[in-house]
Symmetry: C2
DNA sequence: TTGAAAGCGCTAACAC
DNA sequence: GTGTTAGCGCTTTCAA
């Protein structure tokens, strides 16, 4: 490792001057600055963020901890976060908690230990404990899923999206839509279920739903269970893309074709949804914007804004394709 | 922030004892250790990785820099890396260079600045400059794509996979398969193209190919260009999943159905490929294993193994589904 | 404009 | 088994 003291020796100046020159402070003679930069390049010196971080008590690093990096929604959120971070001179490190509360806690600890400048979290459950983060004074924004605690949040209007999807299914003439949603401790799962229920009740229909882990296998098993236990079910509203893949597998294995034998709408506009057979009707959420808005908000928090807690809800939209339409 | 000196005061011991107790060193009286842990919990103290890192000159953090976090292959690689890292007490931070050489260089700098214990890189191009990483003494493993430089690598056998895919297309009776591959500075793109060419030449057929950015739009445009300029083309070998989505869009807009009007094989077994209309034939690579093998190798490098450079090639497999079959 | 020196929080000699 | 203290590489007063 090349220390700035090495550079100082090479350039024949003090370490203070090297520090100032390398940080582009104006209070250093241009000629000296040039000499220092030359020496630094010659020696291949690199900033040591660890030492700097210890001294300045801050870093230029943001952490984004998400519960499911395979979900296209999160990759889009990550893009939004990264673009904004980049523009503001921050790097972002992604951590994947994989819907596992222990992993999540571990990564929260890592973020604190690494003294990140700010944290964006998509919590596993609304009960996720973030007290240590707040105690450490690290600005925190939650995305995609809310927290019980009172904290800045950028969310999608899951409930109304689910409601719109269910109404659409009903309007298309499917008589008994069921809902396949995530675990009963996941807020998004609950919100989407609530939207479904309210649309069903509004229509005088009887809700039928099933909780499952947000995974392909979870979706498959839940679909099987619903279809087996309630033969009257003729349509499915599915709460996310991973679940949907499992549902698709189960439908296929039963020879059930969406848009003909069963109506199908899923949450999340994954890139492949238009190419499924038949193209899938989806509830699309503005994931990139959720990420960028969250990052912007985080920036203002980092620079010390003391505004009251800010909760943003982003609208979703129904993208109608063939899977929810009758008579194909 | 709670420093260990605070904990020391609270517990009525020295900082050294706190440090030892919190790090679980055996040389501290159990009763004292207990008292220290109590005090630490009471005060809510958290380890400060920045200070520790400066002192010990090492961190428990691995970096994984990948060129395309949206590619399911990378998310699978990341899982493999994370599982192994976790088991060995390391955390991993993911960085997304987005096929952008500047971003890649930035994240390489960040990794060095943060003094990560090891680095796994999926480089944008084989010319990516990693001298600074090596100068910093950070163990490096490249995955998915090779580097010109002589460095540990864990790759998939892209070439033979592409060859098998092309042979399969030919054997199915498609007369003029074309290849849609990635940019001409991406090694995977070149390897897959090479495999395609060799199978074509072996069969006495004339290769027809098109380079494009590894993106949906790239795939769409390339497919359009191939189809417009060479009407005889009746099959497509596509070099990755993102490209494939674009190709699918273009085929659909022309009313061309895979497995009926055109044969189609794509690289990468993305989770949605079985559900496309018709199900897609793919070349599957063992992405999770690539990640875990790379991480294992990295572990041995970190612990100072001085073995010669190690290049692993993982086999790919052809998964035949309907899109490449004739006569649907 | 430049340099000397203190100190960020921690670990690891070294001394007891 | 426990405490004292130097020092990791850097930034930032303070003095010159």
């Amino acid at each position: 490792m090349v220390r700035i003291s090495d550079v100082a020796a090479e350039a024949g100046v003090s370490v203070a001057t090297v520090s100032r020159a390398l940080n582009g402070l104006p209070s250093v003679h241009p000629e000296l600055a040039e000499r220092v930069r030359d020496a630094a390049v010659r020696l291949g010196s690199r900033p040591n963020a660890v030492a700097r971080g210890l001294r300045t008590q801050k870093t230029e690093v943001l952490a984004l901890i998400s519960a499911d990096s395979e979900n296209p929604v999160f990759t889009a959120i990550a893009r939004g976060v990264e673009d904004v971070a980049q523009r503001n001179g921050y790097s972002v490190i992604l951590c994947n908690s994989d819907e596992d509360p222990e992993k999540e806690a571990r990564y929260l600890d890592v973020a604190i230990a690494e003294q990140v400048a700010g944290l964006i979290l998509s919590p596993h459950s609304s009960a996720t404990d973030v007290r240590s983060v707040r105690a450490a004074g690290i600005p925190l924004i939650v995305v995609d899923r809310p927290l019980d605690e009172d904290v800045d949040a950028v969310l999608a209007e899951s409930g109304s999206g689910a409601e719109a999807a269910t109404r659409h299914l009903l309007a298309e003439g499917w008589m008994h839509p069921a809902c396949i949603t995530g675990p009963d401790d996941a807020a998004t799962a609950l919100d989407r279920l609530a939207g479904y229920r309210s649309a069903m009740i509004e229509a005088g229909a009887t809700p039928r739903f099933e909780h499952a882990p947000f995974s392909r296998e979870g979706g498959r098993a839940a679909a099987a269970s619903v279809l087996d236990s309630t033969p009257s079910v003729d349509a499915l509203f599915v709460a996310n893309a991973a679940l949907a893949l499992g549902v698709l597998a189960e439908l296929r294995s039963r020879g059930l074709v969406p848009g003909r034998d069963v109506g199908l709408v899923t949450f999340d506009d994954a890139p492949w949804t238009p190419f499924i057979d038949p193209p899938m009707t989806v509830v699309s959420q503005p994931a990139y914007e959720i990420g960028s808005v969250a990052a912007e908000l985080l920036m203002t928090r980092i620079s010390g804004s003391d505004q009251p807690v800010h909760r943003t809800s982003m609208p979703t939209s129904l993208v109608v394709r063939a899977s929810s339409l009758r008579g194909r």
